[in-house]
Symmetry: C2
Subunit: 188 residues, 2 copies
Amino acid sequence: MSIRHGLLALLERGSRYGYQLRAEFEESTGGTWPLNVGQVYTTLGRLERDGLVRGMPESDGGQRPYEITDAGRAELALWFATPLSQADRPRDELAIKLALAITTPGVDVRAVVQTQRSATMRSLQEFTKLKQAGGELPWLLVLEAMIFQCEAESRWLDHCESALVRHRPTVTPVTQHIDERVTADERA
Amino acid sequence: MSIRHGLLALLERGSRYGYQLRAEFEESTGGTWPLNVGQVYTTLGRLERDGLVRGMPESDGGQRPYEITDAGRAELALWFATPLSQADRPRDELAIKLALAITTPGVDVRAVVQTQRSATMRSLQEFTKLKQAGGELPWLLVLEAMIFQCEAESRWLDHCESALVRHRPTVTPVTQHIDERVTADERA
DNA sequence: CGACACATGTAACACGTTACATGATTTG
DNA sequence: CAAATCATGTAACGTGTTACATGTGTCG
């Protein structure tokens, strides 16, 4: 639903055509989430089908601008007025992954956690660097949203690791045979 | 991709049938993300089509168990070994919403922020209550992931609000006419 | 001219989601 | 018996995503 409403919001500023919409959408979010042009057109088609936008006749340079309708404006207002509930959000794949890793035989959960943390920290560094480069307020806020998320994820991964250590003791390479005895016990 | 791999992980524990898979999936995540049974079957169909699981003949009580194949095991191992990159994640709808709210005429951004924060805090309280009730380790970690996320979101919303105040001064009901002058200036 | 950016669009597919149809089994 | 739960499955739709086809304009 984010692209749908995103395009609607851009059209609220005034009439735009597909290519413009893609450029402005990517600009708002600083190119963090690249948007395939094709998707703009398919989404515009669906928005028109639903009566939220109106496609104008093709103008001079082969450009076909769209404008938002009253229904579209209402839908947009509703979007802004309604908070995102937990149910609206996609499942947290990382949480699912770790939760299942714990109960899946033959998975080194600590390795999963550590690999993820490396990746998360790399992202965090990239974002921090981008932040130094500066930019418009919207793009800056998006960046900071992702920075906050990375930090939360990193803290959560730390938390998971220590919870795991508490739950099933750490294994060093030397005591590999002990590891196998322990997991065998747990299966019973 | 999370359900696909989730089912694969559950099948790694042993042969299961559809209804069981749904129950175990919801149990792992504590019912936070309810999973429609129908989706289990469609997903199992796709997994079988891709050779990652094998559907067994229908047994006694009308149950049709599935088992994971070697290809499925490889896919699962890959899933666990590969960290989630930023590109894999869905667009952050809230971030997009706020970024666009800022540049959309006629939107009270502060109201959007405050409405969202109320909702986020409500979620946070629910999760905290659930945490007190306790549960298995996987479910506990999932809960804490969501708690951490809510906290990050709440902090980010605070940050947005203060960034907005810095950028365009707060308006009180009494000085409504001043607000209109200001926004008119900004449009120019 | 040839390459590249601009611009529109379609086809095909993946995944998630809901609603529905259908039966077997259990239980009050 | 009737209602609820267990269990399987299909049909239909929505969004997101990619790949492709097509044409125009511009610039070295």
